[in-house]
Amino acid sequence: MRAALGLICLLAFAARPAVAGAAQEALSAAEIDQMTAELAAQLRCPVCRNQSVLESSSGLAREMQSVIRDRLSAGETPDEVKAYFVSRYGDWILLRPEPKGINLVVYLLPAAALLAGAGLLVRQIRRWASSETDLEATVAETQTAVSQATAEANVAPASQTEADLSRKALSEEDEEWIREQIGSLR
């Protein structure tokens, strides 16, 4: 009895690595499937061109997925698999080009355009702010000028002629008109 139990324990112990190995294999296959899908999503389908290898239903895209899976299963890293496709099709095969060389334009241009736009906006806002200050200064200057003109007109010299009097009347009309304009400006 004791011998039989020992044999069962021995068999169970011997079978353990095999069970663990099978679980490891299953996990690796799942991982490889996931990595294949991730890589296929980054590669352009040479037939459909606007679709990734993952999305495309073309025969070539399906074969490319198969190549990805085989290479990953053979122990290549995702970067090595990607490098293989780049070596065959060039950078064109990558849906997201590597940020190097002329490709940098794709990455830097939007940022440059954003900065330029922000600069123009700031500049315009400053111009609007300064023109508002200018308007207030103009209004103040005009008011001062009107007040001075009014004061001068009211202190008419004794020797004023009819022409001077009509000029004074005209100045009062002007004054009224200027006040209206200032009011409309505000």
């Binding site: 040479p46 025969g59 070539l60 780049v86 065959r88 099709y89």
Partner: protein, 179 residues
């Protein structure tokens, strides 16, 4: 707006418009190839006649490596030019070799029987060799020099003018190197 700023806004769209205009001058059919000038990828494939053929078997020959399929209409269009190439060039110097792309050998055989041509075609199970060569679709043709390097690549149907120009160019380079 003062100074340079007055000109800045009208000038800003110029590079973008220039880029778009440049894009319009490009032919969308012309795709980049990373392997032109590189050694041809190695292969060892079964032929339609039941033999096998490896890249090393082609050493010393100029090879017109044509990826094709019987279902491909432009392949029919270019076929007479390939027939002419086999009739024009010395078989020991210039060889036409077909690579069957996603097709059945029986259909490919019917195609060859119907349209003529005696050259060998190798089978490419899993499209592995086509992917190794960076093929986009068929017809696509690679011109290999005697050293096994890819001298040119042509996407789309060939005509005699293209074949003659490419082969003569390779022959001229090799003639110059030899002398």
């Amino acid at each position: 707006m003062k100074g340079a700023g007055r000109w800045l806004i009208p000038i800003l769209p110029v590079p973008v418009i220039g880029l778009l205009a440049f894009g319009l001058t490009r032919d969308v059919q012309v795709l980049p190839s990373a392997i032109v000038g590189e050694p041809a990828p190695d292969f060892h494939l079964a032929t339609m006649s039941g033999d096998s053929l490896a890249l090393e078997d082609l050493a010393g020959e100029i090879v017109i490596l044509n990826f094709w399929a019987s279902w491909c209409i432009p392949c029919r269009q270019e076929h007479p030019a390939l027939v002419r190439a086999t009739e024009t060039y010395d078989p020991g110097k210039v060889r036409v070799l077909g690579v069957l792309y996603q097709d059945e050998p029986s259909k490919a055989k019917r195609f060859m029987d119907r349209f003529g041509g005696e050259w060998e075609t190798v089978l490419d199970p899993g499209t592995r060799t086509a992917i190794d060569f960076g093929v986009y679709g068929v017809p696509e043709t690679f011109f290999l020099n005697a050293d096994g390097q890819i001298a040119y690549k042509h996407i789309g149907p060939l005509n005699w003018g293209i074949i003659e120009a490419k082969v003569d160019s390779i022959l001229a380079v090799e003639g110059a190197t030899a002398s």
